[in-house]
Symmetry: C2
């Protein structure tokens, strides 16, 4: 029963945080919407920050960035990108408010920075891997870092970007990020890569 | 004298907002640091939001995005990018907290969205202009929109990106954005463009 309440609190918190901004959502709101007492909420979580860190951890586990092996084919890479975009949408308040939440919670900021750096390293490995497999050509120095940073910008700031240009953000627009990341790579793709990509589902 | 206080309040507010986060800076802090009474601050500005909107307007005027004619040469474009990066650094809290500030003030959000859309349109015109002058080649459909969105991502989220990867941000790192935007264009540059760029200061 204790465990059920914990799960319920997290799922209700995610819903509220996605709908509103994190400043407007209080632990009282979360407890009320989850149908538990505030005392019960505090039995499970020290404060709102701890709930947010827990949701971040869930997202992290669902993406499995650390454990994920490098894709063997471009189609595999494409479907992994689609999958990640879906998980990001599920936890969209974390995309939208990442920077702000980091300034409010040092522990959270530390976790995020560690993960983002790890993600960047993995993306560098991925590009080297794609180059070794003959999928991309890197013609000049620093190109690798530039491409990776561009992909990272898309992965972290695509929905905030849609927000600042005043677009209504829905799941289909959010998922366009996978296609955009592919576009970043396009100028560097070899003929072999283009042929293979055209055959993906 | 009234005008002097107004200017002083704005310049002190900019300093404090750049140093701390906007939630920690209150009108009381600003008045105290500017050496004016809180009453005097409220004589000039209704609230902190109005001060922020005013600083945003100053940045906007300094960039002169609306009035700026399209650059005639690539070197002109390069030095304009450098200039804009300098202005952004001066008002860096606006880069860092743009999204959050928009959620706190609808008037501000409206202004920003209008400007960002205008900037996007101008960038499309710029790329078409560069293509017509034989500086870039756009090989497939949608390429234009993708490049512009990538440049916009760099222009708005480069410093937030440095923040989430845990880099200490200083003026030189912030100004690297001009060079990164050039890198985005590089795969599409013609020989003519590359020759001309190599000759810029």
């Amino acid at each position: 029963m204790k465990k059920d309440n914990r799960t319920k609190i997290l799922s209700v918190a995610l819903k509220l945080l996605n709908e509103q901004d994190s400043q407007s959502v209080t632990t009282n709101h979360i407890a009320e919407a989850a149908g538990v007492s505030t005392g019960n909420l505090y039995y499970h979580f020290k404060n709102k920050e701890e709930i947010i860190r827990e949701l971040y951890g869930q997202m992290r586990d669902e993406i499995g960035f650390e454990s994920q092996p490098l894709p063997e084919t471009l189609c595999e890479m494409q479907s992994y990108c689609d999958y990640v975009a879906k998980v990001w949408w599920k936890y969209r308040f974390l995309r939208r408010e990442l920077h702000f939440l980091m300034t409010r919670d040092d522990l959270f900021a530390k976790d995020v920075i560690k993960d983002v750096r790890l993600q960047r390293e993995k993306m560098i490995l991925l590009l080297l891997h794609l180059r070794d497999k003959g999928y991309i050509e890197l013609a000049y120095d620093n190109m690798l870092n530039n491409i990776v940073d561009t992909m990272m910008l898309y992965s972290h700031f695509w929905t905030p970007y849609l927000y600042i240009i005043g677009e209504d953000i829905d799941v289909s627009k959010a998922q366009m990020v996978a296609q955009r990341i592919e576009e970043v790579l396009r100028p560097f793709l070899t003929k072999k890569a283009k042929t293979e990509l055209a055959k993906c589902q």
